[in-house]
């Protein structure tokens, strides 16, 4: 039923648009995307805002199912039937399209100066010379907490690691709440919400990540092993039977008010806002000592690029420049709290939780998940192994040192850093 409706809407809009184009001249741009959840936002908010400013350019948002997107897009690009604007997956999937000449080079696009190098890293060639997608949104890691529970127990959001564990001890001693809602069953929770969440504080964000890429640091160095050691200390604070607790279990445990802290990614915000009946707050990953610089994982997730075979590249560039503008950022970030604009200009957001998350960008340094760029190209796959080992460390199957050694050995077997 839904698909039918969607098809009808798309069909209708494309017919209308082509009819419109016939009168109003110029160009019709079609956007390829996997974000079919965002269809309404594009049609009701983003596209009208753009078209009002740029008469003569029509835009059609044409999403496909997330699981089919990569394959469908590749097929369409090969057949020459893909839309003008391509929504970019981060890292290798898009890089592959660029090296095959399917995506145009956007390094000199006006508006690109609005983005930092970290923001662009997901859509930049390995040598950093060319950028081929405009960064659209990122997700930030941190901890969401149950404000009512914290008030009841007289806890303030912890800033340092000692305070963090003191708070956990207090919640545990009280016994009303499960201190932390996380399970190791689905593996990725332990890696993404655990290791990649708290890790940047230890390896100093970009500094450590780039050193790892260059081969100057190893995963067995102390700054990469320590996050594992901290994760191992989480074990007593997780709920009963956390070994078999899945990600949806954790979400429900928290939104039902049975857990006090949820190691989170900002994409939870809109889900939690509708489900939780209590007040929520958020704090960034605690630093080791008060006054240390804090680092956050501000992971690039969605970008938008130009089909190299587009028939109206100028109109498409006008559109992309608009996507790079603060105006787009503001509409987008407010429509989808939790998916943050990567634009350097601060965006005003109405959602308090989203505001809290994004405020960390000012006081902390941003980085992306350490395993995503380049390091997960070979076998064994570093990202997958990090999932398994993070869960192993929390379960107590492996010590932090053993886990780190396994990861480094796996990486060494295929990755030769460029000298």
């Amino acid at each position: 039923m839904n698909t039918k409706l969607l098809t009808a809407i798309l069909l209708g809009s494309s017919v209308l648009c082509s009819a419109g184009a016939a009168f109003a001249q110029d160009a019709t741009l079609t956007i390829e995307s996997w974000r079919n959840d965002d269809l309404a936002i594009w049609q009701d908010k983003l596209i009208p805002a753009f078209e009002a400013k740029n008469p003569g350019i029509k835009v059609v948002f044409s999403p496909s199912a997330p699981t089919e997107y990569n394959a469908a897009l590749n097929a369409k690009l090969d057949a020459g039937s893909a839309g003008d604007i391509i929504t970019c997956r981060p890292f290798d999937a898009s890089l592959d399209l660029y090296t095959k000449g399917k995506l145009a080079d956007l390094t000199s696009l006006s508006g690109m100066e609005n983005f930092s190098d970290v923001a662009k890293s997901a859509w930049t060639t390995d040598d950093g010379k060319a950028t081929f997608c405009v960064p659209m949104a990122s997700v930030i890691h941190g901890f969401i907490y149950n404000k009512d529970a914290f008030d009841q127990l007289g806890i303030t959001p912890p800033a340092t690691e000692d305070e963090f564990f003191a708070a956990l001890d207090k919640i545990k001693a009280d016994g009303t709440f499960v201190p932390m809602a996380m399970g190791t069953k689905d593996l990725w929770e332990a890696a993404t919400m655990g290791y990649q969440n708290i890790g940047p504080n230890y390896w100093h964000g970009e500094e450590g990540r780039l050193a790892l890429l260059k081969g100057e640091q190893k995963l067995t160095d102390p700054q990469w092993v320590e996050p594992f050691a901290t994760l191992a200390k989480w074990k007593p604070y997780l709920g009963d039977g956390f070994e078999a607790q899945t990600y949806p279990d954790s979400q429900n445990l928290f939104t039902l008010g049975r857990a006090a802290i949820f190691p989170a990614g900002s994409w939870e915000i809109s889900v939690f806002n509708t489900q939780a009946q209590f007040k929520m707050g958020a704090f960034p990953p605690p630093v080791k000592k008060a006054g240390d610089t804090c680092y956050i994982s501000d992971h690039t997730d969605i970008g938008i690029g130009l089909n190299a075979a587009s028939k109206s590249p100028d109109a498409a560039k006008t559109f992309l420049t608009w996507v790079a503008s603060p105006e787009f950022a503001e509409i987008y970030a407010n429509a989808l709290p939790g998916f943050f604009s990567l634009n350097s200009t601060p965006v005003k957001m109405a959602d308090p939780l989203a505001q809290e998350f994004v405020s960390w960008r000012d006081k902390c340094k941003s980085t992306i998940r350490s395993t995503y760029q380049i390091l997960s190209r070979g076998t064994p796959n570093l990202e997958n192994e990090t999932w398994v080992e993070s869960a192993n460390v929390i379960n107590g199957t492996d010590t932090p040192e053993v886990a780190a050694k396994k990861l480094q050995d796996g990486l060494d077997s295929w990755y030769k850093p460029a000298k």
Partner: protein, 350 residues
Amino acid sequence: MILTLHGSGPVGVRGNVVRLDAMKAFYVHAELDRDRAETEHMTAPAASKRPFRWHIAIFLAPAVLVYTAIMILPLFGTLQLALFRNIAQSQVFVGLDNFRTLFGDPNWSVNFWNALRNNVWFFIIHMLVQNPIGVVLAALLSSPKLHFSAFYRTAIFIPTILSFVIVGFAWKLILSPLWGVAPNLLDLIGLKSLFTPWLGKEDYALTTLGLISVWQFIGIPMMLIYAALLSIPDEVIEAAECDGVTGMAQFWKIKLPLILPAIGIISILTFVGNFNAFDLIYSAQGALAGPNYSTDILGTFLYRAFFGFQLQVGDPNMGAAIATMMFLIILVGVCIYLFLIQTRLRRYQF
């Protein structure tokens, strides 16, 4: 974000790759059966020259063509794919290099042997639990004194027709330490202390999944053996009773020898089914078959290699090499059964 993490892979496509191994094995099996039947039952044909019987070819054609197109060709396609490797965007013939990688490179071989070991354990659970219980259930069902046997038969068979996905999720919920009924039920009988999050513990996860699979498929051996038991003529049973062989002795001395061929067929079905298993593990534990790869079987290992997972890019060539190994393992198993076991089974004709 959530969508990319939870997107399930194209399971159906993989189905073809693996199942065709099973079907091939069956094909060999069926063919050998037929050959034997022919040599046993057919008298030597008249030597006189007959015209070529076209109608046989024509009647066979639809099945042969469809089977060739969707089973035999993909099978050879898989075998061929295993001999190539993608180098600089083009498929290059590399001989047995993929197999050398699979067995020589510890990054692959450790996973392969782990998956094979787990698979063997998965099979052993089925052989030790599913099939004996299936025989017992069938024997109970065929007892004339049992009331409501049709009800029991249906109730026990129903899980077999459920989808793997439903079974996987239902059991995940039943065993969930947070919302599951298992902890409460154990509490009711005072055994709460026995509860652990089975699916999350390295030591128990695979055995638990094996038992879930047994729960699901117990109906199949039960039905086949039930049918075999029913086909035993009453005269044989009566003769046994006249000779004073009754009760348990009757089962062991008369019925069991008569249903041994059915048990043999069930064993081989179990073997093929287990070594092609994938769905239950995938739906309950995910493609990484956690915790710490303890539930990784050949099917999930193949899936990760062939289609990739998350950031891991799929490698169809290595995937095909693993699929080929699965095919060979199943082929060897089926051959051992056919040549060493089935030929020694005595069949009785009534």
